[in-house]
Amino acid sequence: MVTEPVISIRSLRKGYFLGGENEVMALAGIDLDVAAGEYVAIMGPSGSGKSTLLNLLGCLDRPTSGSYYLGGDDVALLDDDSLSEVRGHRLGFIFQAYNLIAQLTVIENIEVPLFYQPDATRGSSARCLELAARVGLADRLNHRPKQLSGGQQQRVAIARALVNDPLLILADEPTGNLDSSTEEDVLCLLDELHAEGRTIIIVTHDELVANRADRILHMKDGRIARIVHRPHS
């Protein structure tokens, strides 16, 4: 049985014009397929294009050239509204800096993606509560981000990333700001999600973090230099 890949990318390029003739090729031709349920880590030196790639995968940006199929749909050249819709319906983001909205409580932060999906209101508060419980924050529902530790904030962010039941979860250095014990909490959560069959792409500098993935992409100068497959345990 051949299942359709969640992500299918061909010769994806992204250049930044810096005025005049200067153009920085942040991505210089990427080919990548990610199957459903796969856990992929992206590594590489600073400036190698990891974040740029993740932004493109996250439909936050448009490539200069190349094709990008997400769940079978061409999303490379969609307009702004359609990209927003794709992000809201199919993607879950986990950021290094957590990126919670400071004025909102834990439960309100988890609800934010649903706010922009008029069709997803029914039963949503139950779902949010369930997710909050799942990441271990059932007793902190009305706390504000400032009143939480870094690890707790990142767990709120993970609950938020799950609230729209995404096709793909994207994490840019999710443990970059955490100490080793809270890092372990967050990574265990990601492992659980992986075990449930979710598709996850994570950018990291940490070998130990990357080693939990099925596949590690090593980037260099805007290209995928090396791919390491880890045997299934």
Binding site: S84, R87, Q103, Y116, R160
Partner: protein
Amino acid sequence: MLLQIHRILSLGVKNLFLHKVRSVLTMLGIVFGVSSVIAMLAVGEGAALKARQEITRLGSRNIILDSVEPPQNAASQQTQSSAAGRRKYGLTEMDRTRIARTLPHVLIVHPESTRTDEVTSATSQHMATLIATGADLPEVRQIECEQGRFFTDLEVLRVAPVCVLSPSLSRKLIPFGEVIGKAVRIEADYYTVIGISRKAGQYHDDVPATGKAEITRNLVYLPVTTARARVSDFTFGRTQFDTLVVHVDDSSHVPEVARNVESILLSLHREKDYKMTVPLELLAQARRTQRLFNVIIGSIAAISLLVGGIGIMNIMLATVTERTREIGIRRALGAKRRDIIWQFLAETTVISLTGGLIGILLGMVIPGLISTLTKIPTVVTTGSVVLSVGISLLIGIAFGIYPARRAASLDPIEALRH
């Protein structure tokens, strides 16, 4: 759709509550703008209403002629000082018949003269204003009888010794029992009371009943013929008529009749010993003044509301900068540009509408205070309230749209990096 609006508005309210002091300060511009507009309009409307009432009381179908003592040069005043006291001036029977007989559209030329004198009943004596007038007074001056009736043309013709009293005077003169049919005395003669007027009309201003004003509330209406025959002040007065009211069939004919009356009087009088008042013209004048007043108020209001609106825009621009990261997060999580626009517009609209509503409340309280403290009449019209709500809504949208667009135009990646 409704749910969506509710969500967006409650988000707006919530964000405003997170910055209470700032929101209230931003609101103040609108509060003061709107309340001053409503208060000023209320004062203006009160003045206009008073003018209109005044004019309606005079009657829009009436032309009022008053006798005026002519200016005398110094020489004649010196030499004829004793004779001048007796010299007659003002409107005459001749004027009255000429206007009544020759001018089309004139229904009635109605005489009125007033003097003060003592009125005596079986139990007491009071100073009162005597009004010598015709049988048409009820129609011309819109005066009614609360009891009994007014005198008729026949009674005027027959010099009947009858009178109509104002309610306050009738209470004082004959406090107990039936008033109609009793007699009161003026000078040496007795008059049968045939009616009590209603508390309305020209001589019934709601002035405090003290001093001279007391006399203006003590009124005795007498047939003009009777008064002239029996009351010495009328018999030997220097004017035949203090006032003639020309009652016209339709207000559209008033200007024409006024012109004709003017030319008749010019031909009959050697000097300007009369004054003509046309209430309808006063009304037009009052309308012009009112319009000018409204334009001035409108400009002041526009400026103050503009200042309020700019205040809102200023704060919202600062807010957009401050909340760039939040905007980036929302965009990453699926918010479209228009969601961001609505979010910011909802905030400015809530600010300006709340400000507007507070302004309306304040604007309704202030005129009340003005009225009770200064006795200047004020009227808060629904029109001004509706206008204010509309304007504040418009300000919220007009001055919110630029910051909102600016927020929405932020690139999500850039905004997240903030």
